[in-house]
């Protein structure tokens, strides 16, 4: 992470002993640690992730196992979250649903991250005609009603999970590209990039090793903010019956099933809704905290 040395914060004047320099990352970590909400969010997310990873081992039942004595039962000792109308344990289904929802969230965000960062960095670095052309293309895509396209994609090409997150990722990279481009454009005028030219580094190396690492702050922030958007989109699609298919479950699908029976069995709506809302809360708090920590200027505006 040599590239960050130029952003070291100078020791305040007037003190007798020079304070040891703090790096941007140490400083940011400190600021994040001060933010109770963000730390809570981080802890909750770590727990959620652990639960999702460990689901096959810790879930009390298998996801399609039916308890025929207790169908549509409320929360009780045997089934903490109750059961659905087929007698399947709701806690288990929420756990498995979380696995799918988190997986889609992470995978789709990765797609948007890779595409957005590379596209934006290349456009910003190339500049001139290529940049204008590439950004005009982004402008056009921006104007498209993208939810509509995701719906069309999922309807017409089957409810394939991989395709689902590819489709979501493919429409979510635009803002990332814009952010990275802006950052790269201002960075490439800096002295240390000039120095790389003098050193004779190849353009690809400058881009990957010096420009992108220096844009990491905004990239991380925007990524944390993309995950909840993507998870919401998955839940939205599943809710419309276009996403994940039974007997698999995702939070969106569970919520949709809960809505159908909410009058008699409200817990079927409440537990999956809580799981989704808590996750979204945590992600948003963490994202806000990270923005304040890594990018103090944009936080103020």
């Amino acid at each position: 992470m040599n590239a960050h040395n130029d952003r070291e914060i100078p020791a305040p004047a007037g003190t007798d002993e020079p304070e040891p320099g703090t790096s941007l990352w140490k400083d940011a970590w400190h600021r994040l640690w001060q933010n109770r909400l963000a730390v809570t969010g981080l802890v909750v997310l770590c727990c959620m992730t652990a639960l999702a990873v460990l689901t096959p081992w810790i879930a009390p039942y298998s996801y399609d196992e039916q308890d025929l004595e207790l169908t549509a039962a409320g929360p009780c000792a045997r089934h903490w979250f109750g059961t659905d109308r087929l007698g399947r344990d709701l806690l288990t289904r929420v756990l498995y649903g979380g696995r799918v929802s988190l997986m889609v969230g992470i995978a789709a965000t990765s797609v948007s991250l890779v595409v957005g960062v590379l596209y934006g960095a290349i456009a910003g670095f190339a500049g001139g005609r290529a940049d204008t052309l590439m950004m005009r293309f982004v402008d056009i895509l921006y104007a498209l009603p993208y939810t509509v396209f995701v719906i069309i994609l999922t309807v017409y090409f089957g409810r394939n999970l991989v395709l689902l997150f590819l489709a979501i990722g493919a429409v979510e990279w635009l803002t990332m590209a814009r952010i990275v481009r802006g950052r790269v454009m201002s960075l490439k005028e800096k002295e240390f990039i000039e120095a790389t030219t003098i050193m004779g580094l190849s353009r690809g190396r400058v881009l990957l090793r010096h420009l992108i690492p220096n844009a990491l702050g905004p990239i991380i922030v925007y990524t944390t903010l993309t995950v909840p958007r993507v998870m919401l989109l998955e839940a939205f699609l599943s809710f419309l019956g276009l996403g994940v298919q039974a007997p698999m479950s995702s939070w969106g699908l569970l919520i949709q099933q809960g809505v159908e029976t909410m009058e008699e069995f409200p817990w079927m709506l409440i537990f999956p809704s809580l799981a989704l809302s808590i996750t979204l809360f945590s992600l948003n708090f963490l994202g806000d905290g990270l923005r304040d920590a890594l990018d103090p200027q944009s936080a103020r505006s």
């Binding site: 009603p145 939810t147 709506l269 809302s277």
Partner: protein
């Protein structure tokens, strides 16, 4: 100003072209067809139908024919519900969706602006934290959770509102709140941020110094600058209201355009999908244009920058 609008209208053309092309080939290249469900049909009858709807021509031919129709404003007949043309279907469903959208926008602006201004008046006190926590809840709870919960509490348990369709006024309250809530939350946060910035500026101090009432300072001088980011947000918000309406129309059984689109996509009603997508695209672009005009009108700096 006229030149500005003219140039922006010209930008519509490439966008619409991409929308038409992308939708057309996405829909057509996918497996399955609009008449798959009716298995009883003989080969011959199927061929007959395809001939009538020009579906037997080579794909590029169909595409060009569609474009030609489009230039004349002809969206074709609906394949699944041939009793009306696509244009007639859209015009039939549009008023309902439009009404829902306007109410939701009123909810969003009314609640959002009020909460944001109140929060900005005394930052870091209870009157700031309370509305802002509420806004965070609004952002994190998706409308397909909020809607059913509202129905459960206010319609089924308390019985205050009806929820079966879109007729009486009492049936319109919950859908509008559900659709508007998220945007109210975003607008509240944005208003707070920009109001805080504006209220700390010199001209506000001047306004106070010349003895204006606090209400006049905040509402007339403060809000004018504080509204800028909110106006800019209305563009993306319009697109969001649209996709939100797919869910809300379904939860509350509102016979609007969103439902029509989802149904058409599922039934592979090619012309209907194309028509609705195009219509949505035009709607979003027009809204963005209005937002830009409003911004240019409010702030001369933007006008000169973009001219």
């Amino acid at each position: 100003m006229a030149r500005f609008i003219g140039r922006r209208l010209l930008h519509f053309i490439p966008v619409l072209f991409v929308v038409v092309t992308l939708t057309f080939f996405l829909v057509r290249l996918a497996p399955g067809g609009p008449f798959d469900a009716e298995k009883a049909r003989s080969e011959e009858a199927l061929a007959q139908i395809e001939r009538v709807y020009n579906l037997d021509a080579p794909l590029h031919r169909q595409y060009l024919d569609y474009l030609a129709g489009l230039i004349h404003g002809d969206l074709g007949p609906s394949l699944q519900k041939p009793e009306r043309t696509v244009t007639e279907w859209i015009l039939l469903r549009l008023p309902v969706s439009l009404e829902l959208g306007v109410y939701a926008l009123v909810v969003a602006l009314g609640i959002g602006l009020t909460a944001g201004v109140i929060a900005a008046l005394r930052p870091n006190t209870f009157t700031d934290h309370a509305p802002m926590s509420f806004a965070m809840v609004g952002i994190c709870i998706p409308n397909f959770v909020l809607g059913p919960v509202l129905v459960l509490v206010f319609a089924l348990w308390l019985g205050w509102f009806g929820v079966e369709g879109w007729g009486a006024a009492s049936e319109k309250v919950l859908p509008s709140i559900t659709l508007g809530a998220t945007y109210a939350a975003y607008i509240a946060r944005m208003t707070r941020g920009s109001m805080l910035e504006v209220l700390s500026q010199d001209f506000i101090r001047t306004a106070r110094a010349k003895g204006l009432s606090e209400a006049r300072v905040v509402l007339r001088h403060g809000l004018r600058g504080g509204l800028q980011p909110v106006v800019a947000f209305l563009g993306p918000a319009a697109a969001g209201l649209l996709s939100g309406s797919f869910v809300v129309e379904r939860i509350f059984q509102v016979p609007g355009l969103g439902q029509e689109f989802v149904m058409a996509a599922r039934n592979r009603d090619y012309t209907m999908v194309m028509g609705t997508v195009l219509f949505f695209a035009v709607l979003i672009m027009l809204f963005n244009l209005f937002v830009d005009i409003a911004q240019a009108w409010m702030d001369p700096r933007i006008r000169h920058e973009r001219a």
